[in-house]
C-alpha cells in the first residue's frame, strides 16, 4: 500500500466509502423484495423463500454489516467535522476502534439472532 494511505484514518475513510457504494448496489434488491408486499402476502412469501437459501442469507448478513459500518463510520465523520476538537488531539485517530467494535457487534448479533 502507498505510504500515504497506510494509516488507520485512511482505511476508515475508504471503509466508509466502499460500504456506501456496496449499499447502493444491495439496497435496490432489498427494496425490490419489500415492494412485493404491495401485491399481497403470498407474493412476498414467494420471494421470502429465497431468503432461506444460504447465499441469500450471507448476502443479507453482508448488507447488515455494511449498513452498520456505514452508519458508525458516517457518525464518526460527522463527529470529526462538526464537533470541536482541541488542536493538540489527533482527531483522525479517534473513534476508529469504537466504530469497528460496534460494526463487529452488530454483525455478530445479526448472526446470533437470525441464524
Amino acid at each position: 500500500m502507498h505510504p500515504l494511505r497506510s494509516h488507520k484514518s485512511y482505511l476508515a475513510s475508504i471503509g466508509h466509502r466502499v460500504s456506501g457504494v456496496a449499499l447502493a448496489v444491495f439496497l435496490p434488491f432489498h427494496f425490490l423484495l419489500l415492494s412485493t408486499a404491495i401485491n399481497g402476502a403470498d407474493a412476498m412469501d414467494e420471494y421470502l423463500t429465497l431468503a432461506e437459501m444460504l447465499p441469500v442469507k450471507i448476502a443479507e448478513w453482508g448488507l447488515v454489516t455494511l449498513l452498520a459500518a456505514h452508519l458508525f463510520f458516517g457518525i464518526r465523520v460527522l463527529l470529526l467535522e462538526f464537533t470541536h476538537w482541541p488542536r493538540r488531539i489527533n482527531r483522525y485517530a479517534a473513534w476508529i476502534v469504537p466504530c469497528t467494535i460496534a460494526t463487529i457487534l452488530i454483525a455478530t448479533l445479526f448472526i446470533i439472532r437470525v441464524y
Partner: protein, 245 residues
C-alpha cells in the same frame, strides 16, 4: 563534511530523473553521521550528477522550496535527517506528487498557486494608507482562528499529500482552503463574502474527505483540515460576525 566511517558505509539512493516520463536512477552516496536528505541530493549533484535539477533556498526550514517525496511521503528535505527516513540503507527521492514534473526533482508549482485564486485567496484591503490601521485585538476569537492557519508558506506538501487532489485535480486542496479560512476570519479583508462563496463553490471545501493527510504531513504542524472543517461548519453558521469585544 565528515568522512564516512568505512568505505562500505554508503546509502543507496534512488533519484527520479526526467520529467513526467522518466525513471529512478540509483546513486551510491557516502553515509555520514549527520546528513539531511537535501545534503544527500546536493552531494549527488556536486560529485556525481552535475545536471541533476532540484530546488532549495534557505536550507533551514523557512522557505519550503526543497519539498520532495522521500520514500513515498512529502517532506522538506532540509529538515529531514537521513536517520529518520532511511530504510535498510535505501532512500527514494522523487518530486512532489500531484504536480507536473519539469525536470528531475523539480515540479511545476503553477497549478498549486492557481488553486489559491480559485479559493478566493488574494487579500483585499478596504483601507488606504491615509486611514488609521485597523484595531484588531490579538485575543479575539476571529483573530485567533485566522492566526491558527496564518503561518503557511506555500510549500505544497499538504497539496502533495492530499488523496482528494490526487483523484480530482480540480479540487483546490488544503493549502488554498486554509488560506481562505484565514481570510474569512480576517475582518480587514474586504471580500470576505466572496472568499466564503468561492471556498464553497464546486471543488471547494465540501470535496474534502477528512483523511487528515494534510495535517499529518504539514512540516510546521499547521492544521489545514481543521480550517476546512471550520469552513464546512459555516454552512450552518454563515460568515462569522466581526468581534464586538
Amino acid at each position: 563534511m565528515t568522512e564516512p566511517k568505512t568505505k562500505d558505509s554508503h546509502l543507496s539512493v534512488n533519484v527520479w530523473r526526467g520529467g513526467n516520463e522518466g525513471e529512478l536512477v540509483n546513486y551510491q552516496v557516502p553515509a555520514r553521521e549527520n546528513q539531511t536528505v537535501l545534503d544527500v541530493i546536493t552531494e549527488i549533484q556536486r560529485f556525481q550528477q552535475p545536471d541533476l535539477a532540484y530546488r532549495f533556498a534557505c536550507r533551514v526550514g523557512v522557505c519550503g522550496s526543497c519539498a520532495m517525496t522521500v520514500n513515498g511521503l512529502p517532506r522538506w528535505t532540509c529538515r529531514t535527517h537521513i536517520k529518520k527516513v532511511v530504510d535498510n540503507g535505501q532512500l527514494t527521492v522523487e518530486p512532489l506528487r500531484n504536480l507536473p514534473r519539469i525536470k528531475d526533482l523539480v515540479c511545476d508549482l503553477e497549478p498549486f498557486i492557481d488553486t489559491w485564486k480559485k479559493a478566493g485567496a488574494p487579500f483585499s484591503g478596504s483601507r488606504t494608507r491615509y486611514d488609521p490601521p485597523a484595531n484588531i485585538k490579538p485575543d479575539s476569537p476571529l483573530r485567533q482562528a485566522a492566526d491558527a492557519g496564518l503561518q503557511c508558506i506555500n510549500c505544497a506538501v499538504c497539496y502533495s499529500a492530499c488523496d482528494v487532489v490526487h483523484w480530482n485535480r480540480d479540487y483546490v486542496g488544503p493549502a488554498a482552503l486554509n488560506r481562505a479560512w484565514t481570510l474569512v476570519n480576517d475582518v480587514r479583508h474586504a471580500k470576505r463574502q466572496e472568499t466564503f462563496e468561492k471556498a464553497f463553490s464546486e471543488n471547494g471545501c465540501q470535496s474534502c474527505h477528512s483523511h487528515g493527510n494534510c495535517t499529518r504531513h504539514c512540516p510546521i504542524q499547521l492544521n489545514p483540515s481543521e480550517s476546512i472543517t471550520g469552513l464546512k461548519k459555516m454552512v450552518f453558521k454563515g460568515l462569522p460576525k466581526e468581534d464586538k469585544k
